[in-house]
């Protein structure tokens, strides 16, 4: 059986702006990574301004626009709130508009933000709609080096959180990373062998691998304190949680899609 192709992962987007992020594979400018940010309706994590500045496309899902309007000035207390709001203007606000405050919608609309009014639909969540929008309107030439960073996807209502994780599975060919103040999570599709480059200054050491949605009969890792060796994992049995990153590169191969999670350091 031919070896699986390798997929590399890096959280260099979390590094402070004095150290510009390097593309994960050291490729030339044509392969430069581009970022899009999606803001869902939860309190902004502390690194929201950093990621927003890095991104070339910013989309708020409905009430996420309230969070940006209220939260960005709070995260940049030394600056004039009105100037912050103008600078941190979303490119689009998408959703059924039942959470975004009318004055917030008006404010951004008057600044040129695209307002996309979607009726609620049982089959797709707000995040799902935003991901679709971004993949149809990529900020770069195509989606091949696009990373979508999602803020506010974890915590809050559990059915929203599950719906957001399901988006990772449904768009398994798109790089989507869910971020909270405490953790970063993304999908490791079974179609690839994975190399996760650890940025120790901003993430770790706590990590885990979760077979969300289906058991895994065989997973193998390197670079962790408790590595898996052809180990099976399933809900009701073993999950790899409270593991510790020990090397700068963690490798993972599995017969099942896995969710990788790593803790984020408090000073990020």
């Amino acid at each position: 059986m031919p070896p699986l192709p390798t997929m590399t992962h890096s959280s260099s987007f979390l590094l402070p702006s004095s150290s510009p992020p390097a593309p994960p594979t050291g490729a030339d400018a044509e392969n430069a990574v581009s970022y899009a940010v999606v803001v869902l309706n939860q309190r902004l994590p502390r690194f929201a301004p950093l990621l927003w500045t890095r991104a070339r496309l910013r989309v708020c899902a409905d009430g996420g626009a309230n969070r940006v309007f209220d939260g960005m000035p709070d995260l940049l207390p030394g600056e004039d709130p009105d100037e912050v709001r103008v600078r941190y203007k979303p490119d689009a606000i998408e959703g059924d508009m039942d959470s975004v405050r009318p004055e917030v919608k008006e404010y951004y609309s008057s600044l040129g933000t695209q307002i996309i009014d979607d009726s609620p639909d049982q089959d797709t969540t707000d995040l799902n709609k935003c991901i679709s929008f971004i993949t149809r309107n990529p900020p770069g030439p195509d989606n091949s080096n696009l990373f979508i960073l999602v803020l506010g996807a974890l915590g809050g209502r559990f059915d929203h959180e599950m719906g957001n994780i399901n988006v990772l599975h449904r768009f398994s060919n798109t790089r989507i990373i869910l971020l909270s103040d405490d953790s970063s999570i993304f999908l490791l599709p079974k179609t690839h062998s994975h190399e996760i480059h650890i940025e120790r200054s901003v993430e770790g050491p706590h990590c885990g691998l979760i077979p969300m949605g289906a058991p895994s009969s065989s997973s193998t890792t390197t670079g962790l304190r408790w590595n898996l060796d052809n180990t099976s994992m399933n809900f009701g049995g073993l999950l790899s949680t409270s593991n510790i990153v020990e090397e700068e590169i963690v490798t993972v191969t599995s017969d099942s899609d896995l969710i990788w999670t790593i803790s984020l350091r408090k000073h990020t």
Binding site: Q122, F158, D159, H160, G163, N166, G208, M212, L239, S242
Partner: protein, 270 residues
């Protein structure tokens, strides 16, 4: 032949026991139905900010266990929530776990007030919640196991791997009634071995709900009482799962060929 198959199917449905669920433990004591032993629950407090309704949950519990740093939370936050500066009124019966988060002065205080300190630091294989559930099970006489209900606060949110491990406890101890509670919602396991009847307390829960096949896909799930019911439906991560559903009745029923996680939003709780 078809008649024979139908008879066998009918016997299978008939032999599947009904498991009833009710969140009446969330109601103030006066409003609880007389028949339900709603105060027959053990409360486990994990190490996250206490939910708004903690004072009532604490007061009505049969037993209270702080898992490690959960003791810090009771020590620090309970008086603010109750406007009662007397910490002596909120003493857990047990403080249990690997003791790497509980502050020394908090441990000393509860120990001096009579809490049993159950130090499980020699066991690094399992989470604090797992240890607590395991102990509860071990301590419960067989004839009381069927009535046992464990409510857990602080299991959701925070570090994602902790959340996953806490949810896994529901699967590992699938024959126990364990409910994870946050300010926003509750979650519990609906084992595939039973036909489920979920009685909705609409004064404190709903209408938002969802059903998830976290452990393994479901090829057939059927529900009643939801706005978007499932009818022999497949559910799978990567495809359809039931999120942002709405409770449409006083009673929701669920039957499935897979273990499912049920969640419903909480409100109006103080």
């Amino acid at each position: 032949d078809y008649l024979q198959e139908d008879k066998m199917l009918w016997r299978t449905i008939r032999s599947m026991e009904v498991m009833a669920h009710s969140s009446s433990f969330l109601l103030p004591k006066l409003h609880q139905p007389a028949k339900t032993p709603a105060n027959n629950y053990t409360l486990v407090v994990l190490n996250q900010q206490l939910p708004r309704f903690m004072p009532r949950l604490w007061a009505q519990a049969k037993m209270r266990i702080c898992a490690d740093g959960g003791a810090n939370r009771i020590f620090d936050e309970m008086s603010q929530m109750t406007n009662d500066l007397d910490r002596n009124r909120y003493i857990p019966e047990i403080v249990e776990g690997d003791m790497d988060s509980i502050r020394p002065e908090v441990k000393r205080f509860y120990s001096s007030q009579g809490s049993k300190i159950s130090d499980k630091s020699h066991n690094q294989e399992t989470t604090d919640l797992h240890k607590c559930i395991s102990s509860i099970r071990h301590r419960t006489p067989d004839h009381e196991k069927a009535n046992l209900c464990v409510l857990v606060t602080g299991a959701l949110g925070g570090r994602f791997d902790h959340e996953a491990a806490n949810i896994n406890v529901l699967y590992v101890f699938s024959d126990m009634r364990i409910v994870l509670l946050s300010d926003d919602c509750l979650i519990q396991l609906l084992p595939k071995t039973h036909h489920h009847e979920i009685y909705i307390e609409s004064s404190v829960e709903g209408p938002h709900c969802g059903i998830f096949p976290i452990g393994a896909p479901s090829t057939s799930t059927t529900t009643t009482g939801l706005k978007w019911n499932l009818s022999d439906a497949e559910m799978r991560f990567g495809s359809m799962i039931s999120t942002s559903n709405i409770v449409d009745s006083d009673k929701v029923t669920v039957q499935s060929d897979a273990d499912l996680l049920w969640t419903i939003s909480l409100r109006n709780l103080t």
